[in-house]
Symmetry: C2
Subunit: 364 residues, 2 copies
C-alpha cells in the first residue's frame, strides 16, 4: 500500500532533471550513455512506472478504448468483447468495458464514466435514434455496434433482414406453414428481422404470428414457451429472437412433451458456442459475433486516427445459416442432416453451414 514512486524520485535518484527522465522514457531524445544508464538504473531500482493519469492529462490520450455491451451473460456479447479485446491489444491499447444491463439509467452513468477514460468507444445500445447525440456529445470517437448510428458516424452490424429472410426461406422450403416469431421489440434488429420474415412469408402467401419476450434471456424464453404452444393454432416452427431465448424455449417445450424437431422446429439467432450442445442441437444463424467486435474495433482505430473515408459509414457482415437438429427437414434420410451428417467422427466441430440457403435478393 506504499506510495508509487514518481518521475521526480527517478530524476533525483539519477541526478538529472525530470524533463530528461520523461524524454528518456518516451524515447523523445538521445542522451549520453552515462545519463541513460543512470536513469535506467534508477527506474529499475525504484520500480518506477509512469502514472497514466498524469500522462493522459497532458497528452489527451488514455491508451484505452471502451466497449459497452448490453449483457455480459450473453455469449454473443462476450464474443464481441473477445474480438474487440484482441484488436485493441494489437494496437497497443487496452480495453475497458462496461455492462449496461439493458438499463437506460445505468447506461447513462456508465458511459459518462467510461467515455472520459478512453480514447474511443464501441457502443451497443438500444437508445432511440434521437438520443444518440448524447453519446456523440462526449467528444470521443464512437462506433455503433449492432445498429446504424446517426449520419456520418461509423457503425457495424449484421444484415438482420437477410438473416431473418434466410431463416424463413429455409423453413418454408422444409414445409413449415405456420411460423411464429418470438420478438423483442426494444432491440434494434428486431424491426428489420420482422421485415425480413414478413417479406419472405408474404411472398409465399404464409402468415406470421408474433410473440413478445421481455428480455433476450433464457428465462424469458422459458416463460413465453407455454403461451406460444398453448394457442389454438399451434405453430409448426418457432423463430426466436436469439439463441438464449431459443435455448430457454426448447427446454420448456421438451418438458411439455414436445419433440423437437418432429412436432416443432426451433430456430435461434447468433450461433453462440453453446447452441451446438443443446438438445437437440440448435439451428441458428451465425452473426459473426467475434468478427463484429474485431471489425468494430478496427473501425474505431481508423476513426481515432482520423483516416476514415466518409464513404465507409456502415459495415454490414453477412449472416450464415447454421442448420443443426432443431429444425425438421422435409426429405427424411436415414441419418439426419446437420452435425449428425458424418456420424462416428471424432471431430464433430464441422457444423453444417448451408450457405446455399442464401436467398436471392439484396438489401437495398
Amino acid at each position: 500500500m506504499r506510495k508509487n514512486p514518481t518521475i521526480r524520485d527517478v530524476a533525483a535518484n539519477a541526478g538529472v532533471s525530470i524533463a530528461t527522465v520523461s524524454k528518456y522514457i518516451n524515447g523523445a531524445q538521445r542522451f549520453t550513455p552515462a545519463v541513460e544508464h543512470n536513469i535506467q538504473a534508477a527506474i529499475d531500482k525504484l520500480g518506477y512506472q509512469s502514472n497514466p493519469l498524469a500522462r493522459s492529462m497532458i497528452t489527451g490520450k488514455t491508451g484505452s478504448v471502451g466497449v459497452a455491451i448490453l449483457d455480459i451473460c450473453n455469449p454473443h456479447f462476450t464474443n464481441i468483447v473477445k474480438g474487440a479485446n484482441r484488436v485493441a491489444l494489437e494496437h497497443g491499447y487496452n480495453l475497458l468495458f462496461v455492462d449496461t444491463e439493458e438499463s437506460q439509467a445505468r447506461e447513462d452513468e456508465l458511459l459518462d464514466a467510461l467515455s472520459r477514460r478512453v480514447d474511443g468507444l464501441v457502443v451497443s445500445t438500444r437508445m432511440p435514434e434521437d438520443q444518440l447525440h448524447r453519446i456523440l456529445g462526449y467528444g470521443k470517437p464512437v462506433v455503433f455496434s449492432g445498429r446504424p448510428g446517426p449520419k456520418g458516424v461509423p457503425s457495424i452490424g449484421i444484415d438482420a433482414y437477410a438473416a431473418a429472410y434466410m431463416i424463413a426461406e429455409m423453413l418454408v422450403k422444409q414445409g413449415h406453414r405456420n411460423i411464429a416469431y418470438i420478438g423483442f421489440a426494444p432491440a434494434r434488429p428486431d424491426r428489420e428481422r420482422m421485415r425480413g420474415l414478413v417479406d419472405c412469408l408474404e411472398a409465399h402467401g404464409l402468415p406470421l404470428t408474433r410473440h413478445e419476450v421481455r428480455g433476450p434471456t433464457m428465462a424469458e424464453g422459458e416463460r413465453v414457451c407455454s403461451s406460444v404452444l398453448l394457442r389454438k393454432s399451434k405453430p409448426d416452427a418457432v423463430i426466436c429472437y436469439n439463441d438464449m431465448v431459443a435455448i430457454g424455449f426448447m427446454g420448456v417445450a421438451r418438458s411439455l412433451g414436445m419433440s423437437i424437431p418432429e412436432d416443432l422446429s426451433v430456430v435461434g439467432i447468433d450461433n453462440i458456442p453453446f447452441s451446438r450442445y443443446t438438445s437437440p442441437a440448435l439451428t441458428t444463424v451465425d452473426t459473426q459475433s467475434e468478427r463484429l467486435g474485431e471489425e468494430g474495433m478496427r473501425l474505431l482505430f481508423r476513426h481515432i486516427a482520423g483516416d476514415l473515408p466518409t464513404t465507409v459509414e456502415h459495415i454490414t457482415l453477412e449472416p450464415r445459416l447454421v442448420i443443426r437438429e432443431s429444425t425438421r427437414l422435409r426429405v427424411s434420410v436415414p441419418a439426419r442432416a446437420g452435425e449428425q451428417g458424418k456420424p462416428r467422427r471424432a471431430k464433430p466441430t464441422s457444423a453444417a453451414v448451408l450457405a446455399s440457403c442464401k436467398p436471392a435478393y439484396r438489401r437495398t
Copy 2:
C-alpha cells in the same frame, strides 16, 4: 469531437472563481443562492462534466474498481463479473475489467494498466504463489478470487476439496467403480479437487485415473474425449474440470455412440447457466459464481475502507451438488430423478439440488 468544457469555462460563465465551482460541485460548501444558481446555469448550459482524470490526480481516488478474469467466454467468469458489477454500482463505483486470456504476458500488461486506473482490484489469476507480490506491488487493495492469496491478503473462493469429495461420494453411492478425472493442472483449484477425489475414492478402495486438458474449454473437452474413451479400461464415470470441458466432452461422447448416462456418467463443475440445457442436462456442482463476484467485491470495499479485521482473510463459499441427467442413478424409478422428477410442469427451473449428498467431513 469538440473539446470538453472545463471548470474554468464554467467559472467564467458564472462569474465566479474555479474554486467556488469546484466546491459547489462537490457540495463542500454552501453559497449565496444567486451564486449557486449561476453556477448551475453555467454547468447546464455548457454541459460540463468534471474530468475524472484530473480529479483522480489530486484526490488519489478513481471511483473505479477493477476485476481481472481469465476468460470472458466462460460463463463462470461472466457471472463473477455480473455479481461484482452489481456491488460496485451499489457502492457508487464503476467497474472496469480485463480479460487476461490465461496468458501471463497479457496479464502483466493488463494489470499494469488497470491497476493505475482503479482504487482496488479483484483478481483471478493462475500466477504461482511466489509471483503474487507483484500484484500487491501496485500499491492498491487487492482481493484474490478463486484462490487464497499471500498471508494477510483477503481472498474468496469455493471449497474445491469439498466440491470434489461430494461428486466422488455421489458417484460411488450410485455404483460407479471406475472413475476418471479430466484435470487442468495449471489451475489453482485443480490440486485441491484432485485431493478431494483421491481422498474419497481411497476411502472406498477405488482407483482414479487422471487425464489432462490443455485449457478449460469446450474445444479441449472435445479433444480429450476420444482418448479417454478409447482406453482399455473405459471409465464408467468422468468428472470434468469444469462445465465447459464437460459440455465439449459430452458432445463428442454422444457422437461416438455413447449414451449418457447409461454407458457413462459425466459430471461438470460450476453450474453455468447452460449446463441445464445440454443433452443430457449436466450434473454439476454449483460454485456460486455470481456470489463469488459479489462477496469478492464487498471484501474489496471493506479493504479499501480499511476496516478489514485481520481475522477475515479468506471467505469460503460452500459448493452445492446439482444432480441432473448426465449421471446414472442406482435405483431406477419410472421417472428419472433430477429435473425430470416433476414432468409436465411449465416451470422446470427447479433444479434438483441434493444438498443431502454433502459428505460428512469438514475441511481442516
